[in-house]
């Protein structure tokens, strides 16, 4: 998997982690902002503030990793794009490798 794709999430600075959480949440299917925050809290125990959530959404949209769908009532759902899926897959693979190394090292001690 391309290193550029793996590193590209890091370009989002302090929004990298919220962005990753949003992408994981959207991997299940399109969701609007409120559903994302609920899902992320249930999944990772991370309570995203609204300013952080929309800071990350705007960046992900700019990168073309998520895209908005037509608004339902006042809420607008977002979906993961094909590029977004590639970036997410690359990042999760990298994380899996790091986790495996960490667990191996812990087991050795």
């Amino acid at each position: 998997m391309s290193k550029k794709l793996i590193d590209s999430l890091d370009d989002l600075g302090r929004f990298s982690e919220p962005a990753l959480m949003i992408m994981i949440s959207l991997a299940e299917g399109p969701k609007h902002g409120y559903a994302m925050t609920q899902d992320i809290e249930a999944m990772a125990g991370l309570k995203l503030g609204p300013g952080t959530l929309y800071g990350a959404i705007a960046r992900l949209e700019e990168c073309g990793w998520i895209e908005p769908l037509p608004a339902e009532d006042r809420r607008r759902p977002y979906k993961l794009t094909n590029t977004g899926q590639k970036v997410l897959r690359a990042r999760l693979q990298a994380l899996r490798a790091v986790t495996r190394i960490g667990q191996t090292r812990l087991a050795e001690n």
Partner: protein
């Protein structure tokens, strides 16, 4: 303070793009202090972050062109993220370095002229601020690239004014 009041802190383009769904996500309930701080920090980010402004601009262009005209811009932005490229190019860095050197030479020249004219204190202060002042002047060409003219003017004018004030005060002490 309600969410609608806090949303007014965001740029109008941002509000047009995200305002309604942002309010819908939070609802009309009373905000916690933590949420209010997060929203205010988000407002600062929306005003200063080139990527957030580009996202909002992209959406606006797409909307104006019936959802198709903004495609090339969006594609361009996708490329920028996917390649993890820095926000400025080598050319920008060279221009910035050129501006930095040129401004330093000019300010130092002014300091030397002041010394020859007998204004020792002024000369000392001018020579002291030559580099930091030049660095500030060069910021729009690299570090502040992509920011609006207003943001660039603010981040150049305010530190320059502070620097000049400090230099002036140092001649009086």
């Amino acid at each position: 303070m309600t969410v609608r009041q806090l949303v007014r802190l965001y740029p109008s383009r941002w509000r047009n793009r995200y305002g309604e769904e942002f309010v819908a996500v939070i609802g009309e309930r009373h905000l916690s202090a933590q949420q209010a701080i997060d929203i205010m920090a988000g407002a600062v980010d929306a005003w200063t972050s080139p990527s957030v402004r580009a996202s909002v601009r992209g959406s606006a262009a797409e909307g104006r062109n019936g959802g198709r005209g903004g495609v090339s811009m969006i594609q361009e932005l996708k490329m920028k993220c996917a390649t993890s490229a820095p926000r400025y190019t080598t050319r920008d860095a060279l221009i910035s370095a050129g501006v930095l050197l040129l401004t330093t030479v000019i300010v130092m020249g002014a300091g030397i002229l002041a010394r020859r004219a007998g204004y020792d204190e002024l000369a000392k202060a001018t020579l002291g601020v030559a580099f930091p002042a030049s660095l500030i002047v060069s910021m729009p060409f690299m570090y502040l690239k992509g920011q609006s003219a207003r943001v660039q003017a603010f981040f150049v004018a305010v530190p320059l004014a502070i620097l000049i004030a400090i230099a002036y005060l140092s001649t009086k002490i």
